[in-house]
Symmetry: C2
């Protein structure tokens, strides 16, 4: 299942024990486990190696700094053996290039559109230019909302070979099948899995939903 | 000097021993020590407490995520007793509000303009709206380039009571006195200090330069 699954588990928890407990249940059920700063700042970046025993790790660091700092962050994540990294694009092509160049074999995803309401104030308006930069930089994929299907559909039609990973599924209101039908390649879901009574069953259900949606396309 | 100094030392180094060595020399010479992700990801956020023995700590995390994640990051930094935190504004008012609400007594600085070339591709064009959001959210200050005096001058004229902290001084080409004369309240300098043969002397020189520039205003 691991290689085939289109599910990315967002492990947005503090504390490495809790993270590891859920990661164990994710083994063989997800394409990758996504972690972010709250976990890294308390556990240190070594948590990537620790979780990699169960599934590949996608570091959702939403990098948004000057080129030199972006490079230092990315190098360190690459050294830890992460599968991928998520960076912002809006800080410009030099900052993005710094991430790409330091990424080694990692998959680099650039944020084109986000899933919270405030994203409409600035970012949504220039998503075309962000998408263009993602292509130009040769990224592996982009982030587009799994709870705003119109935006994802539109981006899919112009994203070429870029993969689309979509957060916002589950607790933030999106449905896995609708996100897949809008063009998402990966579904990112967190709270609805790790806050459920039985995370393994929840992941199996989402995988099944994704599989059926792919069948409908 | 600590309270009076307008110098913020950017301690953009990996490794807590190196950081602590330079922090010791900064004691009594700076308003704060600025740290960023490369140090936090290797040392853990506990490095804030360790460095706070020598000077107040400003966490330059350029936070740029959804409200819930922004809140978790900020809470953790506040628990560590940091003096301040740097957040992006472009992710929108809800994300910014989440940082402000979780910041406790910390000074919150919002990024309005950055010092690298790529900043002109997106951010520079909507600096007016970013500034407006910073005011609306009741931030302590904003980040504006110390190597692009026209932008800082213009922002100063409309920033009201917001403080301006300016990176880009030293290795990135800005001069401390010119940045102060353009309206910066704090000068952020890193490489030109910690890569010098004698960081203490270098900090004393910059403090003297700032003092003279303030005298000229």
């Amino acid at each position: 299942m691991t290689q085939e699954s289109r599910l990315i588990l967002a492990l947005d928890v503090y504390g490495v024990e809790k993270a590891e407990d859920i990661a164990k249940q994710a083994e063989g059920r997800v394409r990758a486990i996504k972690i972010n700063w709250p976990l890294v700042m308390t556990s240190g970046i070594g948590v990537v190696q620790r979780l990699s025993r169960y599934a590949e790790v996608l570091c959702d660091l939403k990098i948004a700094d000057i080129p030199n700092t972006n490079r230092l962050i990315t190098q360190k994540v690459n050294e830890m053996g992460a599968w991928g990294i998520i960076t912002h694009i809006f800080t410009g092509s030099d900052s993005l290039k710094a991430v790409k160049e330091a990424s080694g074999e990692m998959k680099v995803f650039g944020v084109v559109a986000m899933s919270h309401p405030g994203a409409s104030e600035f970012m949504l308006g220039f998503r075309d230019r962000l998408l263009a930069l993602a292509k130009e930089a040769g990224l592996f994929g982009i982030i587009a909302p799994g709870n705003n299907y119109e935006v994802t559909k539109e981006l899919r039609s112009r994203a070429g070979t870029l993969k689309i990973a979509s957060p916002g599924v589950g607790a933030q209101g999106g449905s896995a099948s609708d996100a897949i039908l809008s063009g998402a390649d990966y579904i990112i879901s967190g709270r609805s899995i790790y806050e459920s009574d039985n995370p393994s069953v929840e992941m199996d259900l989402i995988n099944e939903e994704i599989k059926q949606a792919i069948g409908l396309k």
